[in-house]
Subunit: 403 residues, 4 copies
Amino acid sequence: MIKNKKVVLAYSGGLDTSVAIQWLKDQGYGVVACCLDVGEGKDLDFVKQKALTVGAIESYVIDAKEEFAHGFALVALQAHTMYEGKYPLVSALSRPLIAKKLVEVAEQAGATAVAHGCTGKGNDQVRFEIAIQALNSELEVIAPVREWGWSREEEIEYAKRNNIPIPVNLNSPYSIDQNLWGRSNECGVLEEPWAAPPEGAYDLTASLETTPNAPELIEIEFEKGVPVALNGDQISLSTMILKLNDIAGKHGVGRIDHVENRLVGIKSREVYECPGAVTLMNAHKEIEDLTLVKEMAHFKPVIEKKMTEMIYEGLWFSPLTHALQAFLKETQQYVNGVARVKLFKGHAIVEGRTSPNSLYNEQLATYTVDDEFDHTAAVGFIKLWGLPTKVHSMVHKKGMPVS
Amino acid sequence: MIKNKKVVLAYSGGLDTSVAIQWLKDQGYGVVACCLDVGEGKDLDFVKQKALTVGAIESYVIDAKEEFAHGFALVALQAHTMYEGKYPLVSALSRPLIAKKLVEVAEQAGATAVAHGCTGKGNDQVRFEIAIQALNSELEVIAPVREWGWSREEEIEYAKRNNIPIPVNLNSPYSIDQNLWGRSNECGVLEEPWAAPPEGAYDLTASLETTPNAPELIEIEFEKGVPVALNGDQISLSTMILKLNDIAGKHGVGRIDHVENRLVGIKSREVYECPGAVTLMNAHKEIEDLTLVKEMAHFKPVIEKKMTEMIYEGLWFSPLTHALQAFLKETQQYVNGVARVKLFKGHAIVEGRTSPNSLYNEQLATYTVDDEFDHTAAVGFIKLWGLPTKVHSMVHKKGMPVS
Amino acid sequence: MIKNKKVVLAYSGGLDTSVAIQWLKDQGYGVVACCLDVGEGKDLDFVKQKALTVGAIESYVIDAKEEFAHGFALVALQAHTMYEGKYPLVSALSRPLIAKKLVEVAEQAGATAVAHGCTGKGNDQVRFEIAIQALNSELEVIAPVREWGWSREEEIEYAKRNNIPIPVNLNSPYSIDQNLWGRSNECGVLEEPWAAPPEGAYDLTASLETTPNAPELIEIEFEKGVPVALNGDQISLSTMILKLNDIAGKHGVGRIDHVENRLVGIKSREVYECPGAVTLMNAHKEIEDLTLVKEMAHFKPVIEKKMTEMIYEGLWFSPLTHALQAFLKETQQYVNGVARVKLFKGHAIVEGRTSPNSLYNEQLATYTVDDEFDHTAAVGFIKLWGLPTKVHSMVHKKGMPVS
Amino acid sequence: MIKNKKVVLAYSGGLDTSVAIQWLKDQGYGVVACCLDVGEGKDLDFVKQKALTVGAIESYVIDAKEEFAHGFALVALQAHTMYEGKYPLVSALSRPLIAKKLVEVAEQAGATAVAHGCTGKGNDQVRFEIAIQALNSELEVIAPVREWGWSREEEIEYAKRNNIPIPVNLNSPYSIDQNLWGRSNECGVLEEPWAAPPEGAYDLTASLETTPNAPELIEIEFEKGVPVALNGDQISLSTMILKLNDIAGKHGVGRIDHVENRLVGIKSREVYECPGAVTLMNAHKEIEDLTLVKEMAHFKPVIEKKMTEMIYEGLWFSPLTHALQAFLKETQQYVNGVARVKLFKGHAIVEGRTSPNSLYNEQLATYTVDDEFDHTAAVGFIKLWGLPTKVHSMVHKKGMPVS
């Protein structure tokens, strides 16, 4: 055993990482606990103290909400990241930031290793480990839960033996992760894809059956693609997202039930709640619809899809992600304006949108007498647009079979 | 004037195409009227007769609902075609079929020309004309409305002079197109994108405020990607779509408000209602999520996007569309199963899905003791998956800037 | 040790797989050797006998050249598969066919396992193992070379102890794989990317310095994308490729020097020779340029790139590969015609191409008096094609910065 | 006729634009001639004077070589722009720069219109007109050649009548455009795609039959993707390209014979010569192969293809092109190093490449005892990489049909 060997552990305050503190001590490490607040609303003081109680030699808590909002959630918003068309990348977004903080703490604390509480079959282990290697490839990465390979019973037995507090909700059937951008929930009863998720699976959102019977209208203002004001009040981005989680959650917005393909090769069924994320993405998309030229509107989704996959697959720190962000940033230059959103019965419907940079031109679009569009131009356009098809048809005497 | 010159006109029964009959007669044509039923619920006998009344020499009505359902709507369903992420291609889908029927009638009737009622600034003129050229490049294509260039008042004046009946709803502010797959509505008050669409803009769907307060659960069964049974009853595809328009419409499903980029280079604001289409697409996607392997699930959207653009842009009869369909067909081989959909307050939520071809494997996905996933495999996977990032980081000493 | 446990080994006749026969016997297996001829010009009788001599209980040789040509090389030809723009997938193409034959022999011979001679850092282990699992997931897969982990010296020592013949060219610095579609070569002196490959690294192609000083003109005829005749003589596809390897190789065509990204996360430097493949791909592309409509010509590369990655990454038997092939097949319908190729000094230059399905139309393309193109149509086309850019510019008062 | 109406004409000194000066005068314009040197090696003084001689009221010549090199050719180099895999965008690149200069001159000279000499069936009219509108949508654009619609004979007759000099090479069968990045040639004998291009079609490159019998080795150094030194000498980018046109042209590098799909819907056959461009692109690609991580190397081609299409299709000033450039710029950060290129018999073969940012790692790639790659990691990797295929196979009992 090397003396004074230190490890920085991503500490949540839960059973797994509490047990991990003791387990890492058993391996000869001095454990530095590190807990990030990325918007899940934890009692940070309690968590900080608990780490010390169960054996950490140092314990840090870091409020990273605004950094998470601007550096990560904003990318997801502007890139409309929806993995497989459904999942807004909740946990996938926070992992690189947590990894970055772990590495910073490790470098400051003189630690030689970093540890996380992931198991061996999820996506998060991949995201943590690749991010850590990208930031400091000399740090050892330890995954206690994956390594000890204990059953739940064995883990509890070990915890009891080592005086580690057993949580009261130990029998919760769910495995939860939460941050500003939403809440994910897997396991237990959700594992049967024919079964509807029970109400207990949800926490941030009201059920449709219990949402208010009156809609709520809000206005979100964007500057260069960044939401800057809610109903006319300038607020910080993290505040904006948390407020919208609250308001839109009350109206049942943002429940997602997804059978997804994990990076590690299996399908799993997850339930997500992202009221703020869904509301903001809807609003942002409408401002883009008004302000982006057609060819941009049609190509940006290619970048969005790649960005989504890069983040989901743990490659946030790849140079490719950085280049995709450079593209993304350039696209947001004219994304200014206000969206009026109706929150009602699980919907965040954009009813109206306006922009100083709007490319919607009533004089061109109208069917009234104000029409400025040159109708005869269409004749020439159609002739050349359809010419390849026409020549093909002339050469082969007839069109393709219909279907 | 050439004697016996005949033109086949796509006849709707409305003012524009009724006036077009007379206008084409003025140009020396014998007009053959042709009206297709693609699910908009027209009184076909009335339309057939009206054409003759206003001057057509022959008048045909064709029930093309089932052909439209299988040859066109099904492609849209299986390809999840959503133009710019929002519009399920209602009118874009029917144009190639109408063109095909016009050409068939023209060839049978010995006509030398085909005519449609589109103006010079929409997408449909492009779709009609390219389709007609693809199917028979020797037919002349005439666009009376585009050519006469009259104001509304001039058109009415001309109609009155020629004893063409003026519709009672002449002052309707909307321009509507409808088929099985949905209903589109443009113009008038919708031209201000900040204004919410008025209730009068909608017809197929109830407003959220008036939908039932109890959800309705339905089960849709798919065989090779084709919806074949509703709540256990085998029904034809066109019946399925019409029934779902009815049931889901009652619950307010499928309202879409879209500022879109037209092929002809302008932005326009349209309102769509697609209750059946949206319900079926949601259900179909969930069966795919269960039965497609990951790499298929991640690449199929590339095909879907291209298919959507090809159809929107009037290139249904291009050889590329045909090749995309060959891909699509191959993907549907295992898309079997049942989706349970909850219709409620504008939502078509898939609560449960099951398939004999499900690739979801509880033994692999579970976090219980039944777990058969090899957790240690992840270690090797992460090592190689992250190796390029790690080598990049080692070479350049540090990771990329965070954002 | 289970009695009568049998393994089918992909046997090449070389040192590694000869040692593997003995090593598998040590593990208690009866070894069934299986050697495929996919066009590398092996002495199959010798290989068959050698397997028995070094201890196999059964030995099969299979001439799979024509099956390889039609089922695999043809896909590569029609999809213009060039990994990273450079490598025509030589080994990647043969692996799934070899796997298929191994599985067939295993099922016939009642074997419970299949073995291959790959190491732990190449791509081929991935291709073999995924293909075998796809075809029969109950077969165990053994990789003796990866498992024994011996140094070269230890392996030779083991061979000597077990009377396994040591090849005379043991000190060859190269690691070679070859089939109809080409020859790959890695290792040794090639590992320094600044060094030019030595002449000894090549075998199928003459050096530019020694190629004939007179060009050779050949004509290749295609039917539905399949090369069917060389200089007017109908020949089988495998004969076509082998002949072109010979003729084009003599002119130095098809040398490739590539620093590539392996699936397993590292870069390696490889040298390939593909005279027939390069000649055929050049010729095929030109017939496509003449016969595919523009939108097909512009989208097919997306399919080609995905197909290339799927094959390179060992996913031949994925449903996605099958769907990509369905697309590909559809595209070849009109790819008929003849290309005249000039083989000279390392080039396979298509000097002329002709097709009964040519969409090149002299009356449209010409600048002579025969011109049938409607020049005025361009005015309307430009107006609408440039409209989004124009509106954007009008709204924002000026264009984008130049660069 | 408006008094003092001025038009700025893109003047080349050839017959068409000389006639256009007179024709524009006939329309009542004062003509300001503007000739750009983008590397075609014109006698600018002669051209400037000729414009005045044939009737221009002002005449400007602008040396834009270095601006063209850095702002346009460099984008083409770094994006490896090859339209349809073959054409390096020669004319397409210069059009936006010429348009920009025309607009600048028009704004300075107080002109209300801009004119170009393109016909109605090429791509360049589209590129010019959209670029001009993007930069100043208030300028009228005139295309005299397209408008007058004369036959060659009529044009010559008009020229004679107006004392416009008739060029001596009037009967040249070719239509040429040239700049730093290469030379394009269309028409005449090239219009038969089965015929080989005659030697007279080429000017920048020697025929393979006449190239030197000894190769020439050169070293090109890149800094952040910009070629900065040739054989160790720092030179400006425009000098680099011109020098390479000379050196590589002598060795016959860069002849291209292409049946291409024009934007205006027809196929045409063109011959290009791009010795410098091809040499630089080959060299640049090899430095990228050494320095880009795998996921970047695999996605960058998607951007490259879009960039190529945007430029070819006249959309240089679209916001999308700008966003693609932002991506591109980010990718070049580590593209440093030297490529050793062998110019010989029409080839520009990169024999060696080296970089301080090389991600090629001999310790990982080697098969010698220095091997640092973890061979056992592959086992876990294969397990998870192939898991979707395996589960699919287990569920469906057998693999996909082979082909």
